[in-house]
Symmetry: C2
Subunit: 447 residues, 2 copies
């Protein structure tokens, strides 16, 4: 009955709205929309700008969808999907079917919201249980129950524990095991924080030392994870409250109190208690990330490399075209923020150009600076690509191709949930816009 529960939930949310209201969208989570407008203003944005004027509505809907687990009921999801299933015939020694036959559902792609910084994090979820009482549960319910708890503000260990204990309570099997492989964007370092956590009940809990617990070893064998189980155990103890990169990085600047109040009101609108100890620092941490994208910080960065930037590539411009060769700078890391959903997107930028000789290391580092510079504001990938191309063209000789390849967090969170999808955008200037052979050569060289 899981699907119907979701329909009921949506009806409850939307049911009171007539079509007119839906068109303006003002009635959807008005506190969150008001808070997002304050945040946009705090970034120095014009909240009536076409690209972002509906961002408050989009963020409100994304957060509502991303936290709908608060209003879902596990018991109702599971109780319609428990099926009688016999164990082994009487005269046999062993475990199978509805009595003791281990069941594992692997590689469920979920996402959740980090309670520390409000950014979504990815979860590869593996759930196992040992049936008892001659009954099994419909396989999709393991996924649905996991999603109920993923769609809340979470940290990995609590997420694993909540999935585990709710399945134990609702199915009442001999034991439940949950392993989560979590990936959190580390915006400061431009990398990822990875964490594997586990949670067990019943036979998976009886032996506290995971290293010597055979059923855990078997579970990991079937997950095909060559896991250092001891490493896993250690994580359980130490990393619960410190896995979010924003907790490690101390910020010197204190965000405006109006913005802090705005984020606090968002937490309250989602049904959370902003005074819960894990959430007390969340508004500050969220804002210390968000403020990387404020308009004023961009101009500051621009000045830092403007001197080098504005000096054109004289040598290249002075040569005749036949001496020009194609060069490329590939895989320049890209991090930016989608202005439609206030969610990060990340990937790489590739730049191709014609020149008499390859640019020197100083100019190469400037290319990375330019990518970083245009990533550091609210963006759409199409505009970002165009801006990089226009900025680097003068000092690369004018003939430039820029390809950005990025994964968008907004394509995996919200209703879309297109895990594994990515976006490529292209900008071509000068010779690259007319010479299809040059374009093909460059595109064929991409990693």
């Amino acid at each position: 009955m899981g699907a119907m529960d979701e329909h009921q939930y949506e009806m409850k949310l939307e049911g009171a709205l007539n079509l007119g209201c839906m068109k303006t969208g003002m009635e959807i989570e008005p506190e969150i929309q008001a808070a997002v407008r304050i945040l946009l203003q705090g970034l120095g944005e014009d909240v009536d700008r076409e690209g972002i004027k509906k961002t408050p509505l989009r963020v409100a809907k994304a957060l509502r969808d991303g936290t709908k687990g608060y209003k879902q009921n596990v018991q109702e999801i599971v109780e319609g999907a428990l099926f009688p299933e016999a164990g082994l015939e009487n005269n046999r020694v062993g475990q199978a079917g509805g009595v003791g036959g281990l069941v594992i559902v692997r590689d469920l792609n979920l996402y959740s919201y980090c309670e520390s910084c409000l950014l979504p994090f990815q979860v590869k979820c593996h759930v196992g249980y040992v049936p008892s009482g001659q009954q099994v549960v419909g396989l999709s319910k393991l996924s649905r129950v996991a999603d109920v708890f993923a769609k809340r503000l979470q940290n990995p260990q609590r997420l694993a524990d909540e999935i585990c204990s709710s399945l134990q309570l609702s199915i009442r099997p001999t034991g439940v095991a949950v392993v989560l492989e979590c990936l959190h964007i580390d915006f400061q370092s431009g990398g990822w924080e990875k964490l594997m956590v586990s949670s067990g009940s019943g036979v998976f809990q009886d032996q506290k030392d995971v290293n010597n617990n055979n059923i855990w070893t078997e579970f990991f064998s079937l997950l095909k994870i060559q896991s250092s189980v001891s490493g896993n155990t250690q994580k359980r103890i130490n990393s619960i409250s410190h896995w979010c990169p924003s907790e490690a990085s101390e910020t010197s600047t204190i965000p405006p109190s109006g913005m802090i109040s705005a984020v606090t009101s968002m937490l309250r609108a989602l049904g959370e208690d902003p005074l819960r100890k894990e959430l007390v620092g969340t508004p500050t941490r969220f804002l210390s990330w968000l403020m990387n994208f404020q308009i004023c910080s961009i101009e500051k960065k621009l000045n830092a490399f403007a001197g080098n930037m504005l000096e054109p590539n004289m040598k290249a411009n002075g040569e005749v075209k036949c001496n020009m060769k194609a060069y490329s700078e590939l895989n320049l890391p890209l991090w930016s923020m989608c202005e439609h959903h206030l969610l990060p997107f990340y990937g790489v930028v590739h730049i191709g150009y014609f020149s008499a000789e390859e640019i020197n290391p100083t100019r190469k580092s400037i290319l990375q600076e330019v990518v970083h510079f245009y990533g550091s504001k609210l963006q759409v990938q199409e505009r970002l690509t165009k801006e990089i191309a226009e900025t680097v063209a003068p000092f690369l000789g004018g003939d430039v191709i820029v390809v950005a390849e990025a994964s968008h967090t907004c394509m995996l969170s919200r209703g879309v949930e297109k895990f594994g999808s990515s976006t490529a955008t292209v900008a071509v200037l000068g010779r690259f816009s007319t010479d299809s052979e040059a374009r093909a050569l460059f595109l064929g060289s991409l990693p």
Copy 2:
């Protein structure tokens, strides 16, 4: 506004139902539920059996969700998500941003229903367009529009054409390109039918010969598909109506007319015209697949290898335990049908056993027969694993471990859409149920 459109659709469907009706579920697509009951009876099943008594409701909901695209409107999805985006600055030669800057969204996982046989097929969808008129569309809308047409009864080429032309109409760009990589279960051969199709409009259509069209070459470069583009073109001409494996295989037996009428009424309930030429043979093709799982056919197959089956492994039973060695048969192909949703699941079965010597090739082929045999009826994976273990145990010496690993179509279609997830089930008999070292050895040897 895509998410709201879906809510409206769900409200329209469910809105008239009060909570009491929802509990019984009888009001959801009653024609489909009635048809599914006829099909279950035709398979020789007891429609009141606990495991399948709600199958008509589940199938009705799965089909309704899987064909909701008939009631969705592309224009409404796109029109709220067109954003102004400048092209290059005036004095520059080239293409970028909202004028000419190619945008590609890659690797969107979708599924659709084959209009030829009603089985779901997987689609990896790649969409590109060349913006014009200083506007771009929100990236997620490319995915949402593709899904509108995927959620209908389809064949790959029409799916690609409909996605392409609707994006062309609603965004009005310089051109749209769609490439679909489709995978259809080939139940007869135990493999997959793969097909790549493409569709182009505007600049992607101007040059009809795909081989010499540079913009197509660039598009494929960015998809990182080393495609034989000519092969692709050929497919476009020849394979549209013959890609579904059920069209190639002629069946000698004609299914009961009551079952044919039942499938026809399902098509009508989905809003399709059963007389549309692509659908005329669909009920027969669907049933020729379905009838592989009828109860009576199982007993027939049982007799074919009962003689060999029932002869126990005397040699193994006569030896003392210390001479026994562990052997395994890995990767026995498995195809079966989920009794909860009437959707296929497929994968491999691994069998481990203790014996004085490895079983001979005849007995090995019997193991595959047993797997095939228990796959050939409505199943749940837990029971299938148990039944295989119980059947092979006597003639493998009694100490047996069976692991089934399978992907369930019901986990990717319907609301779940957990692409890439898989399920492992385990049954252990005799020594394997007590000897954790033996279990670990076997599980560690799995591919």
